[in-house]
Amino acid sequence: MAYAAPHTQPLETSTGVDNRKLLMWLFLGSEALFFGSLISAYLLYRNRNLTGPFPRELYDIPFTSVSSFILLMSSVSMVLALAAIQRGDIRRMRIWLVCTALLGILFLSGQAYEFTGFYDRGLSLRTNLFGSTFFVLTGFHGAHVSIGVIILLSVWVRSLQGKIKQSDSLTIELIGLYWHFVDIVWIVIFTLVYLLTGR
């Protein structure tokens, strides 16, 4: 069954799928290798730290669970923004977009708080393998979230200027794909990096 958003331009491509959407999926496939490399470096080095602090001394699982939950909920609000624009309800789309961006910012603030706490307790990029692999992995994820937030806010402004119409639902869908991908990367990180090495 083909999923086609209503009121979008008729497609004229050989495969019948939109160029931009295909590009986005290829990009996400490529990103899988990017985060795969970073995560495997973390896993490879997880038991090889010569000095502390070690993961189990620093991780605050309840706190990270809450921030994971926040990112997960931002995915829900993102998908509601998409549902809204596909119905032609620009007003609600705008609300959900801002909601998504704010949840993203909240997640980033949580990460900043967590990083600061780790740093105060003696963990930096230089301290040990845990510091190097953890900060680079979660830092790159945070950078992806930040870029997503900037994109969301930019689109929100465009919609306030009246530049986003129902026919632009593909734009929202593509941003959504990126946002959900960042979310599923975090699902993997939360389990492999936090829960499995936190004990």
Binding site: L22, S30, A41, Y45, T51, L125, L129, G131
Partner: protein, 640 residues
Amino acid sequence: MARAIPGRSPVTMADALRQARGAGEPYRGIWSWFSTVDHKKIGIMYGVAAFLFFLLGGVEALLVRIQLAAPNQDFLSPDQYNAMFTMHGTTMIFLVVMPLGVAFMNLLIPLMIGARDVAFPRLNAFSFWVFLLGGLFLNVSFFTGGNFFKGELGAPNTGWYGYAPLTENAFSPGNGVDFWMLGVQILGIASLAGGFNFIVTILNLRAPGMSLFRMPVFIWMSLVTSFLLIFAMPVLAVAMFQLMFDRLFGANFFNAAAGGTPLLWQHMFWIFGHPEVYILILPAMGIISEILPTFSRKPLFGYPFVVFSGIAIGFMSWGVWAHHMFTTGLGAAANSAFGVSTILISVPTGVKIFNWLATMWGGKLRLTTPMYFAIGFIAMFTIGGLTGVTHSAVPSDYQQNDTYYVVAHFHQVLFGGAIFGIFGGIYYWFPKFTGKMLHDGWGKVNFWMMLIGFNLTFQPMMVLGILGMPRRIQTYPDNLGWNFWNALATVGAFVIAASVLVFIYNVIISLRNGAEAGNDPWDARTLEWSIPSPPPEHNFDEIPVVHSVDDFWHRKYVEDPKGRPVPVPAGAAVATHQDGRDGGHGHGIHMPSPSYFPLISAVGLPTIAFGLIYSYALIPVGVIILAVGLYGWVLEPVSE
């Protein structure tokens, strides 16, 4: 996407302005090249830039060969020597063979699949500018080591593979490795952008009727190459980031003192590195697969086998990386597994070679210069491939590892393979994009000099390797029996250089006085030959409708009862297979507007890289340039 929007009325101010100054028409003069989004212009710029880097990398190789021509020489100091072979390798791989392959993809993909441009023209321009600026950035490093004219070179000197921990601060102080890791990172962005663009173009912009198995083999090989690019480059990017965090911010990824392992670098690098080998060779294989049928006047033998073996190579290239690491102590099980997979990957390659030979078998061969290069490719690449198989036997590899035998092997595939294929492609398609034939006589002189010079250079290296000469040594003592072979290799290198000068001469005289090419000088088989040379900006007046593999050939020829090609009667070939999807003769065809934003965005990247090396204050500047470029790009009112 370029589609006709006839009689579009100006909607916004920007639209009106663009219509007023005739947007869609190329800007005149040099500035048109800076803002162009035309895949043909971008392809030509890719080709010219990569060829200039080819000359640079060639000079570096000559300097290396002069140093090694005789024992106990001091022409280059050890540091200079290290910089030369590092920059030679990095340049030839990232700045020459890859972009030359991309140049052909740019020029040919839209023409061969019957499209007006690539799917994302501005992304295409971005890819080129990032490549060019990244290449220049990498080479700026030469001037950062003190006084360049006194031979104080700041260039990276750790080999093109940059093995940790040699690249760490403790062993490589100075900026060379920083330039290398950031430069390659920038080039990776260009490759990624290109890879995404080509996949979408090939999958989505095919002319009506061109199913996947009616695509020319070059398009198939480009598709496989693009997939390898988008999946391999992120791994390299992460490896380079890890090195960057180690060098600039004191992280410990490859720091054994903190419990890290330099072997992580080797794994990451070769997970990228072995698909990379096929990224380099597959476009050349595609070029050969177009040249051979044309000049044998036969369809490619076993088209599906060539295609599937190309796809198989793409898959298998992900399972052989550790054969670069047999001597690092992977253990017997891993060594055996990777040895076996390496033997296996030679099977699809062998399939291709037999298909090419069978294509020529019984054909009416026309031995033009492109055909010479294609046949040269088969012969030289086969030697290269076979020497590669000898590396897959682990005990044998223990002996060959880090000797000149390895150097001979990979030059045999990358020069004897990729470069021969690319030169064949240049001779073959030069008429299409310039309207002028390259001189065939000078072309054959070029070919024979290159073939002889090539064998004089690299076959002695095979001998040297077996005699035990290690790689990466700046000089060697007198009494090891290496003198003669080294001298021979140096002579060969200069013969190659002379052959390249012949090529340049040929290009110059042919551009001035070359014979007019016409649409189809070779009586060829694929769609690009059905349109004028050079092609108009919109490529096809009417988008062709495709009915078979080699559709253009079947428009020209039918088969007699014995299967021999017979020309279609005069007049019947024209316009029989056209339909009028778009209004004829290029009027009213809306082409993507030129844009400076790809160039502006691209400038941001080296600015950030300079900032990381010299002053963090530059980083925000670069980020702002990048952001301005990207925002302008997204908000600019164009339809593509």
